[in-house]
């Protein structure tokens, strides 16, 4: 179970002249600060999948980066099983498996070495890393290319190894930032299947996406963020009930574009 309460994060604007036209018009720009995330709330229970929706620049990635402890929130709480991990980022790192959309692999290491490295960084011993890699290789169908250098992998292979690397330490919560962006249909299916496996294993999953068909297929709850604020929080049924028939319409309703 993971709960996010009143999360906020602002960035200092170093050079106001460099901001894009859109950023200059954004109401979140206040003086020297850009309040990227102002008030984000949601929660995800055991065995649930939460879809995080929002237009580009809404603050999804910033929110997920705070969840992963890469960024430190200015205020708010992130509770994993009741423990506040904002104060203890190392705990967050142990409990969360994070995969960002723009992630890469160390090209000169093989897929196995990439996964091993992060297993070791998580303090796992060689035996448990090996067992886990075997398990993940079965699940994600990695065995044919796991021992080759990852610089020669296809996008799909890279994504599979990245997923394995993100969950090598058996995290309590899995956070995925646009995991299917830029993938072909087969690779996308691998990611979707993997999320379903996690669901079966009762691991809560939070993922951001722009594909509403994925939301329909996978999610139990939906959170919509716009301009750094939670605009909608609820289960999939009440989200689709916001408009007749189409999830796209529901989404536009929540951000007030209808």
């Amino acid at each position: 179970m993971i709960e996010i309460k009143q999360l906020a994060k602002r960035f200092t604007v170093e050079n106001p002249k460099k901001l894009s036209e859109q950023e200059k018009k954004d109401p979140r720009l206040k003086g020297r600060f850009f309040h990227s995330v102002q008030n984000v709330n949601f929660s995800c229970n055991t065995g649930q999948v939460l879809g995080l929706l929002g237009p580009n620049g809404a603050g999804k990635t910033t929110t997920l980066r705070m969840l992963s402890s890469a960024l430190k929130p200015d205020s708010g709480q992130i509770l994993i099983d009741g423990e506040d991990v904002v104060q203890n980022p190392i705990l967050a790192r142990q409990k969360i498996g994070f995969l960002s959309g723009s992630t890469g692999l160390y090209g000169r290491l093989s897929g196995r070495e990439n996964i091993e490295y992060f297993g070791k960084l998580h303090g796992m011993n060689a035996q448990s890393i090996n067992d886990k890699i075997e398990e993940l290789a079965q699940l994600l169908d990695l065995s044919t290319f796991l021992d080759r250098r990852s610089e020669n992998y296809s996008t799909g292979m890279k994504q599979k190894v990245s997923i394995a690397r993100a969950v090598v330490h058996s995290p309590k919560v899995v956070v995925l930032d646009e995991p299917t962006t830029g993938l072909d249909i087969m690779a996308t299916q691998t990611v979707i299947d993997f999320i379903q496996t996690l669901k079966v294993q009762q691991t809560p999953v939070i993922f951001s996406t722009h594909h509403l068909d994925e939301v329909k297929e996978l999610c139990d709850t939906v959170t919509v963020i716009d301009e750094g604020t939670t605009k909608f929080n609820g289960d999939l049924d009440s989200f689709s009930a916001l408009a007749d028939g189409s999830l796209h319409q529901s989404f536009l309703t929540t951000i007030g574009k209808v």
Binding site: R93, S100, T103, L109, L121
Partner: protein, 401 residues
């Protein structure tokens, strides 16, 4: 920390491009450069010495002995001319058109009897801009005649051999150097060694530094690394040691190659001199030199890592690092200048003081007590820079630019 170090080294060893620049290039390139320069300059000098030169003499009849001696030489070939000594334009045209390499003008007043005419002046026309040995080759002949003329004059005047010496060189200064061979050679090459080693360390550390800072950002692996449960300072130190290790290894490989190839190319001729010189430097001095290098390499590694992690891409990182080479070169070049000693203000200029101390150690004239403040101040700077690097790695603004 060592986990990060081991992984970075493993990646480094698998990177053919970096390895090539770090190891293969110094192993092969330096002998090629030095050997090439030595070969071609040797060729050029040999050619200038043995090439047959065409010449013309104006007023040969004024100095028959001299003219005959010049005509005797095999690789000088006379071209006849009816130009007169006053016709400078004609003489110049003769040389410009490459009909002759030089023209010697002997005045009508020329005489072998010094006592009657005093000093004789010959005029030598030649194109002196390029490499040529005209004057040296000519002097060999002229000096002989001049000397015999002089001896003849002394005999005529009846001057004893002792007085002759006094007349030729009234006061002779006999120089006795108190510097031994080591100090002598040390002064000449001692400044060069820290220069080579510093620059090599910096260059060798640069490629891996771009790779493990900006490279991680560019490939998208940095974020994942930052959210793994390893304390940030250990992460920084792992990367820091990789860069420092690469810098030292690259410098040592290059110096080793330089040394080995130097011995090979000089075909053992200089080996006695080198072994004698190296033998004079005690093991303690070698150790001290190495110890002085440790904080220097640490400074380089910390600065490079800070630059690299700040940069958004490989290209940006290289842009930051190139001016660093120039900044580092200045104090070391100053230390190479003759006459600059490890005293006063120079003892407090970072990098320069270490370069000077290494020079003193090579010369064997080091005041060992002076090493302590240099070592401590350099170590303090290195420590501060490492601390800055760790602080830098904790800044969200640096990591997510």
């Amino acid at each position: 920390m060592w986990l990060v170090f081991r992984k970075e080294i493993k990646e480094l060893l698998r990177d053919r491009k970096t390895l090539f620049f770090m190891i293969a290039l110094p192993l092969l390139l330096f002998p090629l450069i030095f050997g090439g320069v030595a070969y071609f300059s040797g060729k050029a000098i040999e050619k200038a010495q043995t090439k047959t030169l065409n010449y013309a003499i104006i007023g040969a009849e004024n100095a028959p002995i001299l003219s005959a001696k010049i005509a005797e030489v095999d690789d000088l070939s006379q071209v006849n001319t009816d130009l007169q000594s006053g016709n400078e334009t004609g003489i110049k045209a003769l040389i410009t058109s490459e009909t002759v390499d030089f023209v010697l003008v002997i005045p009508a007043t020329f005489s072998d009897d010094i006592l009657s005419v005093g000093q004789n002046t010959l005029t030598l026309y030649l194109n002196d801009a390029g490499l040529n040995m005209v004057q040296r080759r000519l002097n060999k002949i002229i000096d002989n005649i001049a000397e015999s003329n002089r001896d003849q004059a002394f005999i005529t005047l009846g001057i004893s051999e002792e007085i002759q010496k006094g007349l030729l060189e009234p006061i002779l200064v006999d120089k006795v150097s108190t510097a031994d061979k080591r100090e002598n050679i040390g002064e000449k090459i001692g400044g060069l060694i820290p220069y080579i080693i510093f620059i090599l360390c910096l260059q060798g550390a640069m490629l891996p530094a771009t790779d493990i800072g900006a490279g991680e950002k560019e490939r998208g692996t940095l974020e994942t690394l930052l959210i793994s449960p390893i304390p940030r300072n250990q992460l920084v130190m792992g990367k820091f040691f990789t860069i420092a290790f690469a810098g030292v290894t690259s410098a040592m490989v290059t110096v080793g190659s330089l040394f080995v190839w130097g011995v090979v190319l000089s075909q053992g001729m200089a080996i006695e001199l080198i072994t004698e010189f190296m033998g004079a430097i005690s093991a303690v001095d070698f150790l001290l030199m190495f110890a002085m290098l440790v904080p220097i390499v640490a400074i380089f590694a910390a600065v490079l890592l800070s630059m690299s992690i700040y940069a958004k891409s490989f290209k940006e990182a290289q842009g930051y690092m190139t001016p660093l080479v120039f900044i580092v070169i200045i104090p070391i070049i100053l230390a190479m200048l003759p006459g600059i000693k490890l005293e006063g203000i120079y003892a407090w200029v970072p990098l320069m003081n270490v370069a000077l101390a290494i020079k003193e150690l090579i010369k064997g004239t080091m005041d060992y007590m002076a090493l302590i403040p240099i070592f401590l101040s350099t170590t303090a700077i290195a420590g501060l820079l490492i601390a800055f690097c760790i602080y830098w790695f904790n800044r969200e603004k640096v990591l997510f630019r």
